[in-house]
Amino acid sequence: MTNTKIAILVQGIAVLAAACLLTGWGSSWEEMKSAAGSVTSLSADFVQEKHMKILARPLVSSGVFYFQAPNSLRWEYRAPVRNVLLMHDNRTERYVDTGSGLNKETGAGLQAMQIVLEQISQWLGGRFDENPMFTATLEPGSKIVLTPKEKSFSRMIHHIDLVLSERPGIIDQVLIYEGENSFTKLVFKNAVLNQPIDASLFRKVS
């Protein structure tokens, strides 16, 4: 699994979390699938904290994302390094600010992105339990735990916690554990559900 694939997977997880943000939770996989079916579009700001034992304070990133069903996505970090992932019409592109504006990233990884895109579609359809890469478990305390099925993959991501709020459909935290000493926390805000999104956001980087 390439680094890029992992990165996009993490972004996919974030989108999953955002999708869960407003769709209303049920108490079974079937109810979740049903609730997720009502999502046609979604946008939100996000703040990401990277926690490691060695850090005096966490590393903070922030940005915004847009999703349009069935599979258009714009995932944009605005700080500290601006970079944008665009998925639209079965094409996936990534742009990174290398000091001279946003430049298209070349090289490996796009095929991997395509694979992950299929997973994102699954998640946004509420099909947690059909994911080929993770085993999903509903736990007490309104928590979904995603555990990698493949041992080689678990070296990279140990598990993922989606902690749901007491309010139906609201998720409090997404925690991605890479190991004992490192995890990433994603928090979403200003979420907007099922409102029209300009299609150019998924085709153009600026």
Binding site: P80, V81, G99, E105, G107, E178, N181, T184
Partner: protein
């Protein structure tokens, strides 16, 4: 992309011919005196540093990563982490009198990668140990001090006329294998270099441009 690769290849071709230059002694030039102005490029104390890293790799590939370094200049120790832009850790290693790798995912688990990375990081962030073996001038009136490198070969610290400081590492056969370049005006708020450029040549040629994103002092 092709142009960038050609430029990098050209630079590396020129560098591949570079051998250890002769130093012209200067009256009154003692250990490190001529290049004392380059002390500014090294962090003093304990720091948590976060850089974005633009890496130009063989074949014209360019990738952007994040580099986290927690270091102590007094202990000459460092913990260094390479992350994707999304914060996913692909390499985590530590040097404190010896090398310890905490995490290394492909392709960062290849033989020799951790050792090479740590040597690069230590060349960038730590002033060469001990007194200079020789100081003087290079052709072109550039003050230079030469240090023996514990890893083998020597390291030249050169202060260019423009104010740019360079750390030039030569291997045992006196081939130039690394250039670390810090422009004179590249100062961040914490007094640390805002940008650092590293050019590597040899079996694995690459170029890194590091931009300081965050500097957190860890001293009590």
């Amino acid at each position: 992309m092709k142009e960038r690769f050609l430029v990098l290849a050209g630079v590396l071709l020129v560098l591949s011919c570079a051998r250890l230059p002769k130093i012209t002694p200067v009256n009154g030039a003692n250990t490190s005196g001529p290049t004392a102005g380059c002390s500014r490029i090294y962090p003093v104390g304990e720091w948590q540093l976060l850089h974005s890293i633009v890496a130009d790799l063989p074949g014209g590939r360019r990738t952007v990563m994040m580099g986290l370094t927690v270091l102590s200049s007094r202990l000459r120790s460092n913990r260094s982490v390479i992350m994707s832009l999304e914060g996913f850790v692909v390499f985590d290693g530590e040097f404190n009198q010896g090398l310890k790798v905490h995490r290394a995912l492909p392709p960062f688990d290849s033989p020799g990668f951790a050792e090479g990375l740590m040597e690069d990081i230590r060349l960038i962030f730590f002033k060469p140990e001990g007194p200079a073996a020789e100081c003087g001038m290079l052709t072109g009136d550039a003050p230079v001090c030469r240090y023996k490198n514990p890893a083998g070969g020597v390291v030249d610290i050169v202060l260019r006329r423009t104010g740019t400081c360079e750390s030039l590492r030569y291997d045992r056969k006196q081939h130039l294998i690394r250039i670390v370049r810090v422009p004179a005006d590249a100062r961040a708020g914490a007094g640390l270099p805002q940008t650092i450029e590293l050019i590597a040549q040899g079996e694995q040629s690459y170029k890194l441009v590091m931009t300081l994103l965050e500097a957190v002092p860890l001293d009590p």
